[in-house]
């Protein structure tokens, strides 16, 4: 068990993150203070949630480019609703954000399921459509901090046992996903559908519907992230999380989730996101110009994918093994 973990991608990635943190800590001990680590985790929470959503989709051999746009649209819907009717309780708004996100995700899923359109085309289209709808909905206007109710803004910030609710939500989602992916038929179906779609049919799994469910769940997580994002930064506008879809995919790739489907783990996605989080937060601290960040994450993606591909490279079946051993 333990030795199996030590040999896994997750262990390697975890090691890389620890090493990176230690290196930073040598020069800036404050970086590893409990408070700062909590801050880094909190800052990465939304990326973790989104990466877990994207992971489900990628596991089924699909891809969702529209997650960030979905986040913006669901976020804008609840922000505007909150601004217009501050009386609506926050839990209802959170539920609404999740529902809107799920509907948008289902919209992607239905095209993939019923019309068999390649996911990349569908979500490339919905990426611009969702983003455009945010503009149409808001008329391009911002929803500012003072227009949001205090309860709306307070939720992700409230601290329990030393951690903000935002972090708790991420932890909750991680636990939920661990159970879903590891212990339910649906979770295992994601692996089956992505790993070998033909064999999945032989097993009685409806490939299209499983993909649809993955898109819907990913959409729901994007919706949740939409609320968390705007309440955390206390502002909503058309461009929020612009370009974030690629960060999400990058976190998955760094976390060892194979773009070809069927390979990946919750731990990998979380670590992939954390890797991003540490880098993003460390750069200003170690006084490297923020302009380096993009290049560093690019290099990390390339290294990660090259590394994972090497680990995945089929060892070839060895016909000669038995006879070699015999002689």
């Amino acid at each position: 068990m333990i030795s199996r973990f030590l040999k896994s991608r997750e262990a390697l990635l975890a090691g890389a993150i620890v090493l990176l943190t230690i290196l930073i800590a040598i020069r800036f001990p404050a970086f590893v203070s409990a408070a700062n680590l909590v801050r880094v985790f909190n800052d990465t929470s939304i990326l973790i949630i989104l990466a877990l959503g994207q992971m489900m989709v990628i596991l089924t051999r699909c891809i969702d480019l529209s997650m960030a746009a979905n986040l913006a649209l669901s976020g804008m819907v609840v922000a505007m609703l909150n601004a217009a009717m501050p009386g609506i309780p926050v839990p209802a708004l959170i539920a609404l954000a999740i529902a809107v996100g799920a509907i948008l995700g289902a919209f992607n899923g239905i095209f993939v399921w019923k019309l068999n359109i390649p996911p990349i085309v569908v979500t490339l289209g919905t990426l611009t459509i969702f983003r455009g709808l945010v503009f149409v909905l808001s008329g391009g206007a911002w929803v500012n901090a003072h227009q949001m109710s205090d309860a709306f803004k307070a939720f992700p910030r409230a601290v329990f046992f030393g951690l903000p609710v935002l972090s708790w939500v991420a932890i909750f989602i991680v636990v939920l996903m661990t159970v879903l992916i590891g212990r339910t038929a649906l979770g295992r179906a994601f692996y089956a559908v992505g790993g070998n779609p033909t064999a999945a049919v032989y097993t009685g799994i409806d490939v299209g519907r499983t993909r649809f469910v993955a898109f819907t769940l990913a959409g729901a997580l994007a919706g949740l992230s939409g609320y968390l994002w705007i309440s955390r930064y206390a502002v909503a506008y058309v461009d929020i999380a612009g370009g974030f879809e690629l960060d999400i995919i990058a976190a998955c790739v760094i976390g060892g989730i194979s773009i070809a489907g069927g390979i990946g783990s919750v731990g990998g996605a979380v670590l992939g996101a954390l890797f991003f989080g540490v880098i993003k937060n460390a750069l200003p601290v170690v006084n490297i110009s923020p302009f380096w960040q993009l290049a560093i994450s690019g290099a990390a993606i390339i290294l990660a994918v090259a590394f994972n591909a090497r680990a995945e490279r089929r060892r070839g079946r060895i016909i000669l093994r038995q006879s070699e051993a015999a002689s």
Partner: protein
């Protein structure tokens, strides 16, 4: 028709059970361009092994897929224990108590052995969550039952093909089924594992399960089956008790004509050595391969599935690199690093996997034919369509291709006709040596004869042919000389005269040390 072997008569004659557990009636299934099954009938009795025999492409696997809910029949009825049933997914069939070991291993490389066995019906624990511990334990028990020494927590990816097959068998047994279907379960197994499988079948029989057993191996059928049903070209042409039939009668039912006509081997004049392979080795797939091939000769390669024949041929064709060894063409040493180079040297390869390696679905027929010869049909890199059509017409008409037009997508053709296009594609390069890997695998009987006839014709025109085949009759019928491979090595070489099936099987399975 031979439908006189109707359920009524069979039932009457059965000493084993009185009422069939499962009855199929008038079941038909068509694919674009192929009628895979037409109006077939089949009965399965509890505690009885029914053998389903028929040539490649007779529709056996299609029937299995219908019974397991993967395909839906175009029409016809399925009656299970007196109730009419219909399955829309594999899950429905499993719930009704039908389980199958499919011909192709349909498993998941990235998942663990235990999960491959239990995917879709994993044991549940608290809150309805999957109970991994119990799953691993149950899987271990099942694997012991099929006589496999495999760690249930291992990833499937690392297993060999035989082990994978055992996992597939374990998966079939993991469902509490009344009907167990086995589609060529022994094709990838070794002698010892085959015997264990036979014992398992006996046990299942004793438990009162109805078993449908599909196999091309006659000795096997006569050993374990109680009844038989024969398919030919998608039709049911006979059924009855094994005790009432003979080897010859089954063959006659299967083939529908006398056997030697299918392999129209004409004696070609065998000339000088064209192609020599010596000490050819690969780190993991094959070792110390050496043979010669002469002009006008058909050299057969026989072996069990997974013996490494395809790997060897692909290395000769430049797809993979050997670690050691040399190839001579017309006495000259040739280093072949890529298929392009092999083609230039006059060696071509008709691959086993027609769908993924041979035909390029999406391209029209004529473009498939001209693809490796484009150097000849282009001028300064520019395409000459009329020249391409001319070339395609020339070679496809030699093979008597049937198609609506040459600009149709090759995917619209039937399997046999696709194979003809693939062969035409290679002939158009005017090769010296042509390697045919399972040239008649999965193609219909008419095309099969055409391919065989054509092979003879090519040989008599002076072409040298290597024919990889797992079908003993084909090897015996067509080859001038046969090399048998086992576990990546040559296990024997035999001349045509006096060669029989038994010798080949023994050499392939390594039962006796056979001297060549």
């Amino acid at each position: 028709m031979l439908n006189s072997a109707s359920p009524a008569i069979a039932q009457h004659a059965s000493p084993l059970a009185t009422r069939p557990l499962l009855t199929l009636d008038g079941v038909s299934k068509s694919f674009p361009g192929v009628r895979a099954l037409s109006e077939v009938a089949l009965d399965l009795y509890p505690g009885t092994v029914t053998a389903l025999v028929g040539e490649n492409g007779a529709g056996k696997s299609t029937l299995v897929k219908i019974l397991t809910g993967i395909y839906q029949p175009d029409h016809g009825t399925i009656t299970l224990a007196g109730e009419p049933v219909s399955f829309s997914t594999a899950y429905d069939a499993a719930r009704a108590g039908i389980t199958a070991i499919h011909q192709e291993t349909v498993l998941f490389d990235e998942l663990s052995v235990a999960e491959n066995i239990y995917l879709g019906h994993a044991p549940r624990g608290r809150f309805g969550l999957i109970d991994w511990k119990r799953m691993n334990k149950d899987a271990a028990a099942l694997l012991r039952r099929v006589g496999a020494d495999i760690d249930p927590e291992a990833r499937l990816r690392g297993l060999g093909i035989a082990s994978k097959h055992l996992v597939a068998i374990a998966r079939a047994l993991s469902v509490d089924a009344r009907i167990v279907i086995m589609d060529e379960p022994t094709a990838a197994l070794s002698h010892k594992e085959i015997n264990e499988l036979y014992e398992l079948v006996e046990r299942l029989k004793a438990e009162g399960k109805a078993i449908l057993f599909i196999s091309h191996k006659f000795d096997e059928i006569f050993r374990i089956a109680d009844r038989y049903t024969v398919f030919r070209d998608g039709e049911c042409v006979g059924a009855g008790l094994m005790a009432d039939t003979s080897h010859n009668e089954l063959v006659r039912l299967m083939v529908g004509r006398s056997v030697d006509k299918i392999f129209p081997k004409t004696e070609a004049e065998i000339g000088e050595t064209v192609f020599t392979v010596s000490g050819y080795s690969h780190p993991t797939e094959f070792a110390d391969i050496g043979f010669e091939l002469r002009r006008g000769e058909i050299l057969g390669f026989y072996g069990l599935v997974g013996a490494g024949r395809s790997e060897l041929m692909q290395a000769l064709f430049g797809i993979t690199r050997p670690s050691r060894g040399a190839v001579r063409i017309d006495g000259e040493v040739a280093v072949i690093r890529s298929p392009a180079e092999a083609i230039r040297r006059g060696i071509v390869y008709v691959p086993e996997e027609r769908g993924s390696q041979g035909a390029i679905a999406g391209l029209p027929i004529f473009q498939n034919v001209t693809l490796p010869s484009l150097g000849k049909t282009t001028r300064a890199g520019f395409l000459q369509l009329s020249e391409e059509f001319r070339l395609a017409r020339e070679y496809t008409s030699r093979l008597e291709l049937r198609a609506a037009a040459l600009d149709r997508d090759i995917a619209t053709l039937s399997g046999g006709n696709q194979q003809k296009v693939v062969i035409a594609k290679w002939l158009a390069t005017k090769p010296k040596v042509i390697i045919l890997d399972e040239p008649t695998k999965g193609i219909d009987i008419g095309s099969k004869a055409a391919v065989h006839e054509f092979m003879s014709e090519l040989a008599s025109e002076g072409l040298s042919i290597i024919m990889v085949s797992s079908e003993i009759p084909e090897v015996l019928g067509m080859a001038d000389r046969v090399i048998v491979m086992r576990e990546g090595r040559i296990a024997g070489e035999f001349a045509r005269e006096g060669l029989d099936a038994e010798t080949l099987v023994r050499a392939a399975a390594g039962i006796d040390k056979v001297q060549s």
